[in-house]
Assembly symmetry: C2
Homo-oligomer: 300 residues x 2
């Protein structure tokens, strides 16, 4: 099909033939293009697209990755021909998403959080809840047209269930143990030993590291807790308490599905309270498939 044929078809039917979906996060930005049935015709991936910290760079990355997905599908790369549904990290807080929307060249566009597309991807059309437990933590529920979101808010003040906060809590306990205000446990000793110059190494690391670096300690915490390490159990109990409180808060009557997403989803499995754990389902798809599905539902 030539561009002329495509344009004719598009304008005559008023229903687009192709749909773009974008999953833009702090570490990578992915795009896909599908037909009306949802079949993926092309995909592409690029680096980070953080519209809060780097709006100009994020815009360029989004446009580039969409053009690449179209190229991969063998379709015309004129972005104004296609509707796009974007799920972007950071678009829940502040007005970054609102500022971005008028700058987008797509025929139609919708900008929502990465949580929204993750929920659609995980649950498909059904109602239910998701908990995204990765570097940060975010909770969402959908009941019919009603969407509830809770948590997130970043490393310093929020994201209590995320790996970065877990790692920070672990390093904080290490320092308190050095001061004799907490008993040393095997995990605290092991963690401290990992810093060549001990205490001052921990402080230097904390000053210079992004949240994702703190999150690398999460795996140690879960395995140590499994071996009865009291510091690990204490830190994870507090995080799990807030996770379960958050699920209590967003859960609606009749909710029968909960998907755990993100890098810590398997690790947290056994820490989820029984009344929520009984709802656990495997996610149907990822955020990018959710973006495509929402693009078709919104613009199709």
């Amino acid at each position: 099909m030539t561009i002329e044929e495509f344009e004719h078809l598009s304008s005559s039917s008023k229903i687009p033939d192709y749909f773009l979906g974008v999953d833009g996060g702090g570490t990578s930005c992915r795009a896909a293009v599908s037909d009306r049935s949802g079949a993926i015709l092309g995909r592409a991936q690029a680096g980070a697209a953080n519209i809060t910290t780097d709006p100009d760079g994020a815009l360029q990355t989004i446009l580039q990755v969409c053009r690449q997905a179209l190229e991969h599908a063998g379709l015309a790369q004129d972005l104004e021909l296609y509707p796009a549904y974007l799920g972007l990290a950071g678009s829940m807080t502040g007005q970054a998403g609102e500022r971005l929307k008028p700058l987008l060249p797509f025929s139609f566009s919708e900008v929502r959080s990465d949580g929204v597309i993750a929920l659609e991807g995980a649950l498909g059309p059904r109602d239910g809840m998701i908990a995204i437990l990765g570097t940060g933590s975010l909770f969402m529920a959908r009941q019919g047209s009603e969407l509830t979101s809770l948590g997130g808010r970043g490393f310093l003040l929020g994201d209590h269930g995320g790996g970065a906060r877990l790692g920070r809590a672990l390093l904080e306990e290490c320092l308190l143990a050095c001061d004799g205000l907490r008993p040393f446990t095997p995990l605290l000793e092991k963690t401290l030993a990992g810093f060549g110059n001990g205490l001052s190494g921990v402080i230097s690391f904390a000053k210079s590291s992004p949240p994702s670096a703190f999150a690398t300690y999460a795996a140690d915490l879960f395995s140590s807790a499994g071996q009865g390490d009291e510091a690990a159990i204490q830190i994870l109990s507090e995080a799990a308490h807030l996770i379960n409180l958050s699920l209590d808060k967003i859960r609606f009557d009749g909710c029968d599905a909960l998907c755990l997403l993100g890098g810590l989803s398997r690790s947290y499995d056994s820490w989820i309270a029984p009344h929520h754990r009984s709802l656990l389902k495997e996610p149907q798809g990822d955020g990018l498939s959710g973006a495509i599905s929402l693009a078709i539902r919104t613009f199709g």
Copy 2:
């Protein structure tokens, strides 16, 4: 006295006639020069001297403020004529103090933490403990020649009793209350109302503010706790618990003096456990007077 006379006197007696003391902190750097009796002959003050974050700038500030103090005293400004005792913020952690020492032009120099000179200033020659409760928190004890230090470690992982951590805990509780995971209290409502655009205002503030900005919430916390605000009482109870644990840890048999120093010393007074509160004494002097006193004791 001319410089020639001074130099002759210094070299013949081997005991310096004049002593420099420096109190270098994250917000200001002060110097004083005294005679052998400790009488202050000249003083000067300049901006921050943080040897950890800005070693070159800190060195220049220290030398400049010493020259100004000598000028104020009407003494020759050749720094190599005088011994100096420096108490510098940040010199406890890392090797910043060790790196600085060979760069100093003084006839003799000693570089210690600001805590060391604060202790000497507060207690004079007697043994005892100090708690520095300002933006951060630090605890020290001296028994004879033995000096014990505990706490500090900075905003992200330490300084649990300091105003910056108190403010951060308050903002964190505000976000949890917004998510319905904590009950709103009058203080949480008031704090949130202070941010024009609510929740996203809190997050923006947290991302862009230094610890000292977080510390501005400490006063509200203490006054609200006095009015029975449960969030304030909870936050201060946890901080006070670690303060009292820290004092338990550094306290030695026969200790009969405790000085509370820093901007929050009056506010925390009633939160100190009775067995420590019974030791409370008014500080004799400040960190700069402590630096002078240590200069005379060390080099005199």
